[in-house]
């Protein structure tokens, strides 16, 4: 390697440049490729880790939905978890044995996604004229209302018990001698691939939206609502569409969540905490930036679901903490480390880890 590099420097340099530009331009394909082959080479992905990474993918989808509102359109949303929950519960109602519908996964997912979008429209229509933080508090309030309602309407939602069991996709379908439902239930790699495919689909859709007429209108409204309406953009309609799109994607993530856990979990899974976590992920990664959002989720959710349990069991195995003191366990410091990470990232990269290209271009333009 080294000798060839010194003998033909120009060719190697250009090759390296090519590789760099490939990484830069096609990072998505590289990442997708790596993630697609990962389960084949990393056996742990067939185990608990597979489930954790699946959850990570699902949160990525949720965060991409939130990004439409917060990143593209500039509307602070503090209740995205409510739409996540609406998706999950509608998925469950359409599929669990307790109800007469018992649809297949795909049909239920489509209906749930549309339902979430509809609820988003219904909430957005009367409240979109609110400005900034007033809209934020309305979304927060809506989130609380949904959570309390899910908890109290026991006859419909099962209350704190949640609805279960949500059958896995392909339950009862046999494909090439494999009972798909059973396979989904036992081997986490099936859900891994399913959510990876959905995530990839959402990323592609978001990309196309970003550069579409609608996507540009979102950004225009974010930058200057007055100027945008002067250009003939109907700010209300544009914001409403962002609201609906955001809710729909969150609902879709909810469907996958319920199916992968095989239960809706209890309504606390859809509380303010989750909304805040997603908002942090989107801002931390970089508003309006798709790779940023994905990175933000990978860091924040990964910290809690992957890194923290791993660090705790490592400390345990190393026998560093024989007395079980909370000062010496990782979980004792989790909150502080998490908080410190948020503070430091914002301190040194206030525009996020991967600022959106469009935003970066605008800033650059402003400087020259």
């Amino acid at each position: 390697m080294h000798s060839s590099a010194s003998s033909t420097p120009p060719a190697s340099a250009s090759r390296r440049l090519q590789l760099a530009s490939l990484l830069r331009e096609r990072w998505d394909l590289v990442a997708l490729g790596l993630l697609a082959i990962a389960p084949l080479v990393i056996p742990a992905l067939g185990g608990a880790l597979g489930g954790q990474v699946t959850t990570l993918f699902i949160y990525c989808i949720l965060a991409l939905g939130l990004n439409v509102m917060v990143g593209y359109t500039g509307l602070v949303h503090l209740g995205i978890a409510a739409f996540f929950g609406i998706g999950a519960y509608s998925m469950a109602i359409l599929t669990v044995p307790m109800y007469p519908f018992q649809m297949g996964f795909a049909a239920a997912a489509v209906i749930s996604t549309l339902l979430a979008a509809g609820v988003g429209l219904a909430l957005g229509a009367p409240t979109l004229r609110l400005r900034g933080d007033y809209l934020a508090i309305v979304t927060l309030g809506f989130g609380e209302v949904v959570k309390v309602t899910l908890r109290n309407l026991e006859q419909i939602t099962g209350g704190m018990k949640g609805l279960n069991p949500v059958p896995p996709p392909g339950a009862g379908v046999t494909l090439g001698g494999v009972d798909l439902g059973m396979a989904f239930a036992i081997d986490p790699r099936y859900f891994y691939y399913l959510s990876l495919i959905v995530l990839a689909g959402v990323v592609v859709a978001m990309r196309r939206l970003e550069n579409s007429r609608l996507g540009r209108a979102w950004v225009a409204v974010r930058e200057d609502e007055l100027a945008a309406s002067a250009m003939g953009i109907s700010a209300t309609r544009v914001k409403l569409s962002a609201f609906a799109m955001s809710s729909a994607v969150a609902g879709l993530a909810g469907c996958l969540y319920a199916a992968s856990l095989s239960t809706t979990a209890d309504p606390n899974a859809y509380d303010f905490n989750r909304s805040i976590m997603m908002l942090c992920a989107v801002i931390l990664g970089g508003l309006g930036s798709i790779p940023g959002t994905l990175l933000g989720v990978a860091i924040l959710v990964g910290f809690d679901t992957v890194l923290a349990p791993w660090a705790d069991s490592w400390i345990q195995q190393m026998n560093i903490n024989p007395t079980g003191s909370s000062l010496l366990s990782f979980s004792g410091w989790r909150l502080a480390l998490f908080g410190l990470a948020l503070v430091l990232v914002m301190r040194f990269r206030p525009a996020g880890l991967v600022p959106s290209r469009r935003l970066a271009a605008e800033l650059h333009e402003g400087q020259t």
Binding site: L23, R24, A31, L34, L35, A38, I42, P43, A44, G47, A48, L49, G50, G51, Q52, V53, T55, L56, P97, R151, N152, G159, M160, K161, G162, N164, P165, L261, S262, T263, A265, D266, N268, A269, N273, M277, P291, G292, L294, L295, A298, D304, T305, V306, L307, A308, P309, W310, D312, S313, Q316, G324, S326, S331, L335, F338, L353, V354, P355, R357
Partner: protein, 412 residues
């Protein structure tokens, strides 16, 4: 642009780390792992601490060896820092992790009945033995008593892999009502924390009150994140019941409820279930709010009334940690003993064999007394005790005998 490249490098690094984080080792034929999945962060930490101490003591006492196997214990957390309590995802992740690690032969958990509903169907697929030290929701094991479809929905294979060493609420709820009746209570107000355990228990109590002719003046649920219940207590004061029943735990604001009840000037008896039977409950309520008016039911005998192996355990615990164990510590110990016994009886790492060995346990001479598992994996122990709060401590009152469906005091 350079910045973007670096960031993508980060993305790759973070993902790679997360993928490698849970690396796996080849299976070792002489190694057996026992995992527990309990809420180790947040408000239930104190209770889970005593449970884990109990588990560790059981494993240490056998010299970390059973038959040909070395025992390794892994203490998993089913709560997250962000939530401050157990979450479905953390519990599901723990269950999957245990299921996929061929060395894991027993799963001690969960603490919360709601969490058991998440992990039971997952662990059932691998026939992995589950021993819960604390779940009391009836639907987990008993056909016909829980929601429609329970407990079948937790057993996708149709086989049983779940056991518990603590009596279920079908004992605690109704017997509490019987006890109230015997005390001459005519009217009650029922509260619950709207969680699987607390609400289930309050509903059973409610039902029994109707059967035996105690008038239920009201039944409401509280939000366990609320800070105070002054309005609620003003309402209850206006209703003037003889007894207030709270189905819930210390973590779901049992202490605050008792405190606000006292400061509202309500003189009714307060009755709480085993989820509140820990010193923290008294500490958080303030001893004065509970003095002489608060009664706690508990499945099994309190630590100071244990005999035989149980009292030995209490003694060793006291020697080791310098304090009398909380009531639940012995259940952690017992659950671990059951797991060790099953592994020893089976003599193999085959999970089905171990689970069957556990289910076959009869006349187990443990710290809780002599008991067996029934056909549902429930303990046959049907002792329920009532304690009162006196001078800031739980003081044993009487044993409620479930089999006679009547209660008699025990001469002290």
């Amino acid at each position: 642009m350079n910045v973007r490249n670096k960031s993508i490098g980060w993305l790759a690094a973070v993902l790679a780390f997360e993928l490698l984080a849970a690396g796996c080792r080849p299976a070792d034929p002489t190694l057996v792992k026992i995992v527990s999945s309990l809420p180790r962060t947040g408000s239930a930490k104190q209770q889970s601490d005593t449970l884990v101490r109990g588990i560790r003591m059981a494993i240490e006492e056998v010299g970390e060896k059973v038959g040909p196997f070395r025992i390794e214990y892994i203490d998993l957390d089913d709560s997250t820092a962000a939530a401050g309590q157990w979450t479905s995802e953390a519990e599901a992740a723990n269950a999957r992790r245990a299921l996929q690690d061929p060395d894991v032969c027993a799963y001690i958990g969960t603490f919360n009945s709601g969490a058991a509903k998440v992990s039971m169907p997952i662990l059932n697929l691998g026939d992995l033995l589950m021993v819960s030290p604390a779940n009391t929701a009836v639907g987990l094991t008993k056909p016909g008593l829980g929601a429609p479809g329970e407990p079948g929905v937790y057993r996708p294979t149709g086989r049983i892999n779940y056991t518990r060493v603590v009596p279920a609420d079908d004992l605690q709820g109704p017997l509490s009502a019987d006890w109230a009746k015997k005390r001459g209570v005519k009217t009650v107000s029922i509260l619950d924390d709207n969680e699987v355990y607390g609400k289930g228990l309050a509903d059973l109590f409610d039902e029994r009150c109707h059967e035996i002719g105690i008038e239920v003046l009201g039944h409401d649920s509280i939000d366990s994140k609320a800070q105070e219940f002054k309005s609620l207590m003003a309402t209850i004061k206006a209703l003037a019941p003889d007894l207030v029943y709270f189905g819930g735990t210390t973590q779901s604001k049992g202490g605050q409820l008792a405190k606000d009840m006292a400061s509202a000037g309500i003189t009714a008896i307060l009755m709480v279930p085993d989820g509140c039977r820990e010193q923290v409950f008294i500490d958080s309520a303030g001893a004065a709010s509970l003095e002489g008016r608060c009664f706690v039911t508990f499945g099994g005998l309190p630590p100071e009334k244990l005999t035989g192996k149980g009292s030995e355990f209490v003694e060793r615990y006291h020697k080791k940690f310098g304090e009398i164990p909380e009531a639940y510590a012995v259940y952690g110990y017992e659950a671990a003993c059951v797991a060790l016994r099953a592994i020893g009886d089976a003599g193999t790492k085959d999970r089905r064999t171990i689970t069957d060995a556990a289910l076959a346990i009869r006349d187990f001479d443990g710290a809780l007394g002599r008991w067996s598992f029934d056909q549902n994996g429930d303990t046959t122990m049907r002792t329920l005790t009532v304690s009162a709060v006196k001078n800031g401590h739980f003081v044993f009152e009487e044993v409620l005998d479930a089999n006679a469906q009547s209660s008699e005091g025990i001469a002290e």
